[in-house]
């Protein structure tokens, strides 16, 4: 797949996996994120996205995150955002999405709050 967006697995600890997202999360590339995270959610209820390397996020990107969050919740898991860059954070704040996502300042902080052995939260 010829995409500017790269997604790598950073770490997997039992129920949770962390993916690093690098590049633009926009109309042209959001489908890559959707497929990759969707696949990860098949194996791990909780997915943490390290967004440090996101260069740009547009409305399509945000909508993909919102859909993936819903998908994770439906299967009893969670989608956690770590270190969204300022432009992305601004978008999350303007849309009010910052109040529904679990957002951490860094991947390390996300792991601390959601320990390795973490069992999926129940609804």
């Amino acid at each position: 797949m010829n995409s500017l967006l790269r997604i790598d697995t950073a770490d997997t600890r039992s129920q949770a996996t962390a993916l690093t997202v690098t590049g633009p999360v926009d109309l042209a590339n959001a489908s890559v994120l959707e497929q990759t995270v969707d696949e990860a959610l098949n194996h791990h209820p909780t997915v943490i996205l390290d967004l440090t390397g996101v260069t740009f996020c547009d409305s399509s990107g945000l909508n993909t995150l919102i859909r993936l969050r819903r998908r994770a919740q439906h299967s009893g898991g969670e989608l956690i955002l770590a270190a969204p860059p300022p432009q992305m954070m601004r978008m999350l704040r303007i849309t009010g999405a910052d109040s529904v996502f679990t957002i951490h300042g860094s991947l390390a902080e996300a792991w601390q709050t959601h320990p390795a052995s973490g069992t999926p939260p129940t609804e």
Binding site: L27, D58, N63, I66, R70, T95, G96, A97, V100
Partner: protein, 431 residues
């Protein structure tokens, strides 16, 4: 003699009005020209402005362009363009013949349509009044016929429209509206490639509803989503829905159609012109800005509910703000503030509000301020916008619809003095 002149003016208007019932727009220049002779006007030309308000384009009839007549005239830096920009009559003296050439703005309500040129054998107040009335009647006739005229639709574009633009321009009300209580002006760029932005205003007794939507994406689907959002919003409102319910209705329509695959952000607002209380709901959008006294601006705070179509479950909060007469409410989309310059920096909120404040202090008509704003944003991006950039601005003047003087001055209606900002004088010396 004056009785003849009075009768001539009446004959012109009555004749044109009578002929207009069964007349395609294409015949307007020729028919208007014939009837205008009764008032002493010859060489009548009608120019209409394009979607981006950059040029004026000659409306031609079956006989084509008259000899030695420019088809297109720039708005910046020309005599006809000044009539258009400032809303006053400009004139020039023809070399050979007696009399005078006048350029008058053609304005429907508050919406600038184009300019009228006539040659007048008389150069006096009586003739100017006749010309004003002729321009006013032409405005009404053009507006009445434009929704069914491809001639006009093709004339006012300088490049092809995308499908989104063909849809959106037919959904939205005219770019300018004014009465004694309010002045509304809107702008949407790139005018030829619209994908998801849409604005609306609606007068409802003492209430003015103001809406701006930005549907995600930059494709035809975004345009459809914006159209659906606007339709759902109107339907709900006209069935009595309040602001929060209107947003919910849009959300329901989008989810039914797209199942969480598309969303729109937006502001739904209502201004009560009796009291100056602005009420609004923010659906995941940039908060409205209030500009006061040409120097002070405020970003209204209101906890956003989620974008319509995302179903995130955040509650809609209706917020209120007491306006003062003269306050301007500005709704906008991120294409304005996030326009990126050559060095990749954003046009930004501060530059945006500064521009509005400064131009207003210059005494420019509101529509002209927006025209220049868009030009500034385009220049900043070196002529190419990457996203829809929309502004909807509403100035609250007061509770009374009858006192129209301030509104007329703000939109640059003919008959008002040139704004003090300009050293430009009326062209020619014949007035």
């Amino acid at each position: 003699m004056d009785v003849d002149r009075e009768a001539g003016g009446r004959t012109m208007l009555a004749g044109l009005l009578h002929a207009s019932h069964l007349m395609p727009l294409d015949m307007l220049p020729e028919t208007a020209g014939e009837h205008a002779r009764a008032a002493g006007f010859t060489d009548l030309l009608i120019y209409v402005t394009d979607l981006e308000h950059r040029e004026l384009h000659l409306l031609t009839g079956p006989n084509g362009t008259p000899p030695d007549t420019p088809r297109d005239i720039r708005i910046e830096g020309t005599t006809p363009g000044r009539a258009y920009q400032y809303g006053w009559l400009t004139s020039s003296s023809p070399n050979e013949a007696a009399g005078v050439h006048w350029w008058l703005p053609i304005v429907d309500g508050a919406e600038r349509i184009g300019v009228l040129r006539v040659h007048s054998v008389y150069d006096d107040a009586r003739a100017r009044e006749d010309a004003d009335r002729l321009a006013a009647l032409l405005a009404l006739l053009i507006v009445a016929k434009r929704t069914s005229s491809d001639t006009l639709a093709k004339l006012i574009r300088t490049e092809p429209l995308n499908i989104g633009a063909e849809m959106a321009w037919n959904l939205m009300p005219p770019a300018t509206y004014a009465d004694g209580r309010i002045v509304i002006s809107a702008s949407l760029e790139p005018a030829y490639r619209i994908s998801g932005d849409v604005y609306e205003y609606a007068l409802d007794g003492p209430l003015v509803h103001l809406t701006i939507f930005d549907a995600m994406g930059h494709d035809n689907a975004a345009g459809l989503c914006g159209a659906l959002a606007l339709g759902a919003c109107r339907q709900a409102r006209r069935q009595g829905a309040d602001l929060a319910a209107k947003g919910d209705a849009v959300e329901a329509a989008l989810i039914e159609q797209y199942g969480h695959r598309r969303y729109a952000t937006g502001i739904l607002a209502t201004l009560d012109t009796r009291t100056g209380v602005l009420s609004w709901v923010n659906r995941g959008h940039h908060p409205p800005i209030i500009i006061r006294d040409n120097r002070w601006s405020s970003h209204l705070k209101c906890p956003p509910a989620h974008p319509m179509g995302t179903d995130l479950g955040l509650p809609s909060t209706v917020c209120h703000e007491q306006l003062q007469p003269g306050d301007r409410i500005v709704l906008y989309t991120d294409g304005i503030t996030e326009a990126r310059g050559a060095d990749d920096s954003e046009f930004g909120l501060e530059r945006f509000t500064d521009f509005l404040i400064r131009r207003h202090a210059d005494g420019l008509p509101v529509p002209e301020t927006l025209r220049r704003l868009i030009k500034a944003v385009l220049d900043y991006q070196e002529g190419h916008l990457h996203d829809d950039a929309t502004v909807l601005m509403c100035e609250w003047l007061g509770p009374t619809a009858e006192d129209t003087e301030p509104a007329a001055a703000l939109i640059g209606l003919l008959g008002h003095d040139p704004p003090p900002m300009s050293s430009t004088t009326r062209d020619g010396s014949s007035l």
